[in-house]
Symmetry: C2
């Protein structure tokens, strides 16, 4: 169905705005993604928004027209509104001219097929939505199967995380689990658990990586708990030439992931 919305107090506007809040996303089981590029990525991955929200008076764009047609054909809603209202919804002064509402995905560990890819990223208690989105983007780039979020993680469906993923939220499998659920699952099949560590570790270059390889990074300020590190099959160190003793979590994951990719392809 296609309709126009002109008032800030319209219930649809309130609903859309509420999706910037984690509590409401959880209750509704839905999230927001912004921008024609992200929505086109989603569409090409077979994911259509249930509702497409567009700014009025925008220039026609063939990708937007295609998206609109697909959403309508799938029985979804298309809403036209003002740029002001779109700003209100996305919380940005210069909103991208379109956003969409998606149903949240199944994030159960049971949905992960470990043999679907040679490597996987795992992030423990990640706090920063930008880091989370960046890890999804990196996972896509290295051909990983997806990202597994352990323990109390920032919400992967926040607008910031979705934005930083640059569309990888739609291409990568996302799972959320507690450590005491993840470890038995991992040990129930093939899989090498690897972490950057200073404890009894080998140099990260030339380490004996094996597929499916699960690369785990820890919380931004505390790193990994010691027992998590000790449960790893392989602990590796990266050079730290300066004063700092750690890298940004998303950076550490990426440097390691590219190393594992090169090792597995050699």
């Amino acid at each position: 169905m296609r309709r126009q919305i002109t008032g800030f107090s319209n219930p649809t506007v309130k609903f859309l705005k509420s999706l910037r809040d984690k509590k409401h996303r959880r209750r509704e089981g839905k999230f927001l993604a912004e921008g024609l590029r992200l929505l086109t990525d989603a569409r090409e991955c077979g994911r259509l928004p249930e509702m497409l929200v567009m700014a009025q008076g925008r220039e026609a764009h063939p990708l937007l027209s295609a998206l609109e047609a697909d959403v309508l054909a799938a029985g979804g809603d298309v809403v036209e509104t003002s740029e002001d209202i779109l700003s209100k919804i996305t919380g940005k002064d210069n909103p991208q001219a379109v956003c969409g509402v998606f149903a949240e995905f199944d994030t159960s560990l049971a949905g992960v097929d470990r043999h679907a890819a040679p490597l996987w990223l795992v992030a423990q208690a990640m706090r920063d939505p930008g880091n989370l989105g960046t890890m999804l983007r990196t996972a896509d780039a290295v051909g990983a199967g997806g990202l597994i979020l352990l323990d109390d993680s920032v919400d992967p469906f926040s607008v910031e995380a979705v934005r930083a993923s640059m569309g990888a939220i739609f291409t990568q499998k996302l799972a959320v689990a507690r450590w005491d659920e993840f470890l038995p699952w991992l040990r129930g099949g093939e899989g090498q658990l690897v972490a950057a560590s200073l404890r009894e570790a080998v140099p990260y270059r030339g380490a004996p990586y094996a597929a499916p390889c699960f690369i785990m990074v820890g919380n931004e300020s505390r790193g990994l708990p010691e027992d998590y590190e000790m449960a790893c099959d392989l602990r590796v160190t990266m050079p730290m030439k300066g004063r700092a003793d750690s890298l940004n979590a998303a950076v550490a994951g990426a440097v390691l992931a590219y190393e594992v990719l090169a090792a597995l392809e050699a």
Copy 2:
């Protein structure tokens, strides 16, 4: 000098708050850094704040006492204030219990000694303070000499960039220059300019890196201008296995920097 401040309207509080704003930082030539860890890093690098601002009623900490003594001995100010006022200054709900005001550093290209380190990071038109700080942190980790910011960059002295650098703002040389100033400077001596690129590039692993190696990354959304890429001595590609055609800028810089480090040390 040591003093107490109790009112929100105190001129010192106004001055400190104003340092969250780029315009005021530029005018004053000063910036804010927060947290005992960051300030201790600074102190160990021989950088003392001109003014140290501490929350009242905090627990004594030997590193804080040492810092306070050094600041007073150097003729600096020590200010005690409430947690509420400290929140107001840093713009954070849970401020770290201490912050400091530093004089901005010399960021001229003339201050860069290219032979001081085997590699350097270069970021063009970087927009995100978190990415900028993360690149400084990575530069420290790989033993780089510093970070050179080209063209219109986000302010490296913003609270967010300083925070994300995890102290590397004090250990790394920081320079700011326009491209048409940087390129002649680079060509006035030894130095290999390297960028990740899709144009006539070689695989990033095993590429002929040479010190001093300048690793350049482009703007977060536009990447590097074509002429910047073509001016490089070496263009390298990294595997992109998924749908995305690029990595986060700070991630790309880090993966490349670790590769260059390994190559130069081999």
